[in-house]
Amino acid sequence: MAGKDKPSPRLSEVNRPFWEACNTQMLKLQRCQSDACGKFIYYPRVCCPHCHSGDTKWTEVSGHGEIVSYTAVHRPHHETFYAEAPILFAAIKLDEGPIMFSRLTDRVDSNTTLVGQRVHVTFVDHTKDQKLPFFSLSAPLENGRDS
């Protein structure tokens, strides 16, 4: 059965720079160092999935992006989230290219569409050792509550 701790990322040699940057309130992604590619990469990997180069470098990014799709999760997959439901979970296309799945800090009416809304990163305590990168709407919604 599920334990009492919230599910947390397992730190590894591959992803440690990402999660450590989150704890200093910085969003860092790997960037492919191949001249012909140069794309940003998320989630953290041992190589560039676009050109397969093994040469990547951790780079701070803007933390801005746009909501591609979202859901309000009323029935979370893990009991430690039940008290926070509904959870606004979203796919965010970062301005640098990759899609990052995250949570929105805003509360909105369920019939308000969020697709296409601009968002920016904000770091939230998850466990005592780890902050997570959440996102907040960058401008108030015209047709919905934004608290």
Binding site: M1, A2, K6, P7, S8, P9, R10, N15, Y43, P49, H50, V68, S69, Y70, T71, A72, V73, H74, R75, P76, H77, H78, F81, E84, P86, I87, F89, A90, A91, I99, F101, S102, R103, S110, T113, V115, H126, L132, F134
Partner: protein
Amino acid sequence: MNKGYEGVYIVGAGQAVYRKGATDPVHRILWEAMNNGLLSASLDWKQVDGLAVSAFVLPPDNVTVVAEHFGLAPRWLFQGLYGGASGVIGMLHAARAIQAGDADVVACVTADVFDTARHNELLDQFNSSMRDYLSPFGFGGANGTFALHTRLYMDRYGATREDFGKLCVAQRANALLNPNALFDKALTLDDYLNARVIAEPLHLFDCVMPCTGGDCVVLASERVAESLTGPLVRILGGGEWHNYPKDDIYSLTGGWEAFRDRMYDQAGCGPQDMDFAQLYDDYPVMEFIQLEGLGITGVGETAQFIRNTDTTVNGTFPINTGGGQLSAGQAGASGGMIGVVEGVLQLRGEAGERQVDCHKGIVSGYGLVAYGRGLSCSAAVLERA
């Protein structure tokens, strides 16, 4: 070169009894499904020289240990690591092995022992990308992941909850004719629309019920098949693809279009020649996307097709004639085989009250949900020999 599957027959199909709760050992459910598959084929365990297995809860064991557990000494083994695409893929790989002479009789077996808690527990740790970059954000498991696809599909193509609902209601009607389906009460469109919300826009009846169950098809070489008296089924064409299209989570495709032309070319027929479709129905949106990927409907046109088509066993194009996972139950990796077994039963004329008039049909798989989508897809065209 585009070689088909000549010289190989599906000679039997069987299931373990689908049940609620997760107390049985998965090895026993695999055994039950395989035993029923062999009984259906009138083959003895001694004749099995190949085994393909897929079961999420099997670790720390694997197919080799299952072979030993069952007292088999096979010369060919396969373990499906492609989630809900594994059922069809295992069957296709087994057919190639038989064609090459590496096996004569292969049992392709799937099973799982699931309830909601165990399903969530598995999904939380399904792969490292999910564990590290989705689960900590309270993503809601597969429901959350596919809620995002469902919303995008609705926005992009104008599909409505009523459209998904009509398909779910039709599958439930089919399930009521299937003694091995766990749902035994009719579902109305109102029931569907008013069910409690799980992850917007998904409500309860968009989501499968994790359960315990197992499925098996038995493949044999022509030499063995000739000695059998039961009805035979041919694999006319098939294929699999993984991580397609790469670099695009939200193309609203599942990858079938990558191989479907080659599959129909092998089969010598097209999507318009199918008498039924047994689709991988983890969520109704994936059935819509599957119909499009398999060329049965045009991209973005499935809602219109569903509005105009009776997809029950009494209709013009039956879909998931046994109820599918949505109405029979979702037994983990067996979700990728339940449609294969149903397709084979239909083509053998063994589907009882839910029998449809059919000569050819398509079976399809999808799965290995990872960072934002399922990575693997598969399909095969089957024909009554």
